[in-house]
Symmetry: C2
Amino acid sequence: MEEISINLRELLFDAIRSKNFPKVREIFDTYPNIDIADSVNEIDPNDIESIHYLVYIFKIIKPAFSSEFFSELDTEIQEKLITFLTNEQVGILVQESANDELADFLEEWPANVVAKVLQNTKPDQRKVINQLLGYKDDTAGAIMTTEYITLFEDTKVKDALNTIRQVGKNVETIYTLFVRNKKFDLIGVLDLDDLVFAQSDEILGNVCNTAFQSVDVNTDEEEVAQIFKRYDLNAIAVLNEDKKLTGIITIDDIVDVIEKENTEDIEAMGKVAPLKDSYMDTPIFKLAMKCLPWLLILMVLSIGSIALQNQFQFLIGTLTAVSVFLTTICDTGGNSGSQSSTLVIRGLATHDFELNAKGFFTVLWKELRVAGIVASIAAVFTFGFCMFLFAVHIVEIPDTFVNVNAHGENLTLIWLSLAGSVSITLFITIVVSKILGVCMPFLVSKMKLDPAVVAGPVITTIMDLVSLSMYFAILLSAFTMFGWTLN
Amino acid sequence: MEEISINLRELLFDAIRSKNFPKVREIFDTYPNIDIADSVNEIDPNDIESIHYLVYIFKIIKPAFSSEFFSELDTEIQEKLITFLTNEQVGILVQESANDELADFLEEWPANVVAKVLQNTKPDQRKVINQLLGYKDDTAGAIMTTEYITLFEDTKVKDALNTIRQVGKNVETIYTLFVRNKKFDLIGVLDLDDLVFAQSDEILGNVCNTAFQSVDVNTDEEEVAQIFKRYDLNAIAVLNEDKKLTGIITIDDIVDVIEKENTEDIEAMGKVAPLKDSYMDTPIFKLAMKCLPWLLILMVLSIGSIALQNQFQFLIGTLTAVSVFLTTICDTGGNSGSQSSTLVIRGLATHDFELNAKGFFTVLWKELRVAGIVASIAAVFTFGFCMFLFAVHIVEIPDTFVNVNAHGENLTLIWLSLAGSVSITLFITIVVSKILGVCMPFLVSKMKLDPAVVAGPVITTIMDLVSLSMYFAILLSAFTMFGWTLN
């Protein structure tokens, strides 16, 4: 990959250096824009010679190609390039670019570059871009495009195909077409294949699908993605508050949305605050600030379990061997809870079950039975595991405890009671963690918070408290039962 | 959603009960198939009356509709339905269904149902289905469809449009067309919009894109998804070992692949073995078996840290207050490592950086600098946090230790040295965990294992060992420095 990339840039720059312009055009005809852009993105934005080569490209190749190529360049290279292009060239570039992409770029470029671009934008396009910039992030309005084809309901199929041939190249998709009535209300959508298969004299009002899906400009992009997946759509209509068509969203933008939402969920599970850009594009300090808060919050949240352990110092002082199981018990509770919450969070995200009472009780009942199986097997395993640890002396009971506090008790009884305590603790811990793993995601989602972010840390914090208090309580009962003395 | 669903089923079943067949057809014209199927999926598969209603539907509605409707039904209902349909009806259903979907169903249905379906499948279709069943799971071959349009290179644009009109309805997509030469080699792909925009007398060889993307039948589906995203494709050609076109993959299947891969990554991070089906479709016992192994493996892996803690029982016996920080220290190391590994795993998955030496050192250097910032701030914070815990008596130093082992030392000095030990431990822990968080995903990926599955548990296990040994070593140095006695 990397070598191809270097070769491609050399090929392109050589062609420009030797003013072999047909060769440059041939390269753009042969290779995908993104591959050429990737090879060029490796240059230093301050390397003026290379930037000048890029300026040449924009003089030579077709505007449709150059705008697509431009959109794949790194922000820094885009900025440099715009400062070197003539006003006329910027004008052509802007005209050829998709309005939604342009709006995204404008949000990232510095003020002087934005000014140069807007100066070279025609008033009506500028109005659309400003409108797109006004929609809230992550809504249908923010990702929609305003370049689509609307056709009148009385138009004949053959005339529609001609209209598409005329305006088609400037719109985002011709695979989904929108049909309106005289009042400019959207009355149906039409897939291009339906148009191809229709009788040429039929009118659109009779061929279009009037039971179509649509979303509101304020619909969350994640919800839009769900609708695309459910109905296998290529494009969807976006309506404004007056129910008029104001834009469309196409499947390629939805693929990006799905990827972005998944990245955010995965980051949340890894206890990283969502990065706005890709990892490589995020500066060091910003990365640190995405990691630090959760580390510190979780440390502060551990105050409860620290206080609890402090109260039981006397127990640990009496039998230090009980302390060696603390981390394993807390880890298992956390892991078991995260297993359930992961399944529930993902199930809610993919609409495997719904966020309502029925969904909740179905899942809770299912997880309770899973918990029964998992906790029973884990408890038996743990008991054996602990006995093994004692038997091979990986964990030792100090002689002083055996002789003084346990009054010279049989060592095996001490082993059995400790292994039993750990085992019972784990049984309870796993059951409670699975219940919490179901309740928290439902509760947090109902509160309109992101369960991937909030559920994990809360479960871990509560589970540490539950596991430790169970463990200490069971140990104390064992001590009392066998009449062992506490220091 | 739920209410609409119930109403829709009532509407449909009422129409069938009253033999109002035009109404049934109207329902199928008005509502998306998936919504109707969803409403019907709520019935009990053993409710023979309802199943009979479904059989009626297949008698009444257009075959194209019924196959799409059928594909959205639950497996159990599909099975029942097939046993009630006549051989002829099954034959029509099979003929109308997409081969790739049929192959997927056949893998799930019981033998008697499979037999009935295959008996009613024409020989050539049966051959294709058997071939599809032979491809390895998660490869391009397994998700491709064999229904597409190939056109000859010398065909004129206008004739191509006519051909598409004739065969189009039976193929998966007409938005991407494939162009072959006399030897049946694939020489180019053609988007439908290019065909719509082309001169009607032009031949396809001149309009098609000859620099197209393609994949091999054995290409991993995740890699196919990457290519779709990179090049914004609608469909891609799948070639066999002889480089001949054998199938195509369309964007709607890729959306499912992306979702599935992300679900697997999220499940792996939540320490759940990947479920083959959705959560609701996975039986209780299977769910338990997806959760148990990691719980037990992680418990066994904790043997090292248990052994280590056992060796330092004497230290905990001397000053029990040191034990209260154990879980917090281990948790922080694990959290910090999972932050880095999450970012690295996601970066590798989305090709934000490449799996090679350059990618590794770039990311390592970046994370080292992030670690410097995070560790420094966290260490200062932790020091303050510990001092606060001592000052407000959330953590107490037993009087016996102060008087006996620390020879009546000033309490503040003991606080300072303990807080200092925790703080230095955390600094080292965070730096090491970030280095591991970069190394492990790269190493595991290079070994062709799934980093989302393997990296997390290994990092946690190693980090527990590193954090605990650092903590105990630093504490011992502090004891020595101040001349405190160990029990």
